[in-house]
Symmetry: C2
């Protein structure tokens, strides 16, 4: 589907571009695997270096700290998701159809897509589900934001919100609606897997089908469409 998908991220995210070198690409590829396995709090550059057969000091030349790596991975995911959405909706004239397709993509994009290069999207999605909100729920949000670290997230929300506004130009909360839907898509999947009494997804049919139907009702209900 995307043989040479090139994703350019804010260069403030890293000290040295990890896509530019072999070590950098292995850092990302294996980093995703390790964070997925042991979780972000247990993850350290030392452990990753051991697994990669490299050294802690070498990895610290790519990212200031592990938090920047997380923000990088999450940004990469938002950018990739934005690409998927544009790719699948670019010839669809009706904004309702575009919004429906978009909701479908963000509930199951990670499944359909063949693995891009050295990145395991399914593992990355598990990381996004579990860790994405930690990228901004920190003491330094404001500083990080000033550096533009959340640009991809904002871009994605703005893009989908524009479709919502096309459907109902009078609706006053398109950004809130889309950021909520984006968050809900991940949270409800997490709840279905770990805290099922906080959701209803999976009680009838597949979890992803339920989440899609829930989101569709939520978004179109709010838009009064």
């Amino acid at each position: 589907m995307n043989p040479q998908l090139r994703i350019d991220l804010n260069d403030k995210l890293y000290l040295r571009d990890p896509q530019a070198t072999d070590l950098g690409r292995r850092l990302i590829g294996q980093g995703v695997g390790l964070i997925d396995e042991i979780g972000f709090e247990q993850f350290t550059f030392k452990k990753l270096a051991q697994r990669m057969g490299s050294t802690e000091a070498s990895l610290y030349r790519y990212f200031e700290n592990k938090h920047r790596l997380l923000v990088y991975l999450v940004s990469w995911y938002w950018a990739w998701l934005g690409f998927q959405i544009r790719f699948h909706t670019h010839n669809v004239p009706d904004p309702r159809d575009r919004l429906r397709l978009t909701l479908g993509i963000l509930t199951r994009a990670h499944r359909d897509d063949p693995t891009t290069a050295d990145l395991d999207e399914a593992a990355l999605y598990r990381i996004v589900v579990r860790e994405a909100s930690k990228s901004y729920l920190t003491r330094d949000v404001d500083g990080d934001n000033r550096e533009g670290l959340f640009r991809e997230h904002k871009r994605l929300v703005a893009g989908i919100a524009a479709v919502a506004s096309e459907i109902n130009p009078a609706y006053p909360y398109p950004h809130a609606l889309i950021s909520t839907a984006l968050e809900a898509a991940r949270k409800q999947l997490f709840f279905a897997q770990h805290l099922p009494s906080l959701t209803d997804a999976g009680t009838a049919g597949s979890v992803e089908q339920s989440i899609y139907a829930f989101l569709e009702g939520l978004v179109f209900g709010a838009l009064g469409a």
Copy 2:
């Protein structure tokens, strides 16, 4: 309003009940202050002990680790919120009115209420906004869940979801809807303060008013009511 509000939490949350001793109560009171000031990741029992004029070892006798303290504080908040909701809605017959009142409470309960005993609810709410999801987004969710650490959160969601079901018994996703709304109330406030382009709250009128209006449209829209 609640002179002797007694909140009983799952005793798995702590090693020794912090409400039972003077040191324990100071731990909670000052712990809230310190987490609010420096954030959960920078927070340590050593720093808290210094501020309290106690010792690290003494505090570790109350909580296994700082994560348990966070879960305790968040659980306390959910329990307190549930109490506020029951208190303000207990004589309201129409479920729509009850749901509207509930949404109002969860967007601004922390403002109206006078400080309970030694707990600063405004600070606690800031902690809930910023840190609550970290209480379950961990590697040990399943274990923690088996111990019942998320009971208060579930109880709150179930209670409000029941009202939603009363309004529209055919609606298939009441738990998803309410857990989403609960999360959105906090997230949108955080976005308004730190990442305003992810929300619309505050562009017209007060942030809390906007969040309330957004949630009302979202929830009643989904319920088709």
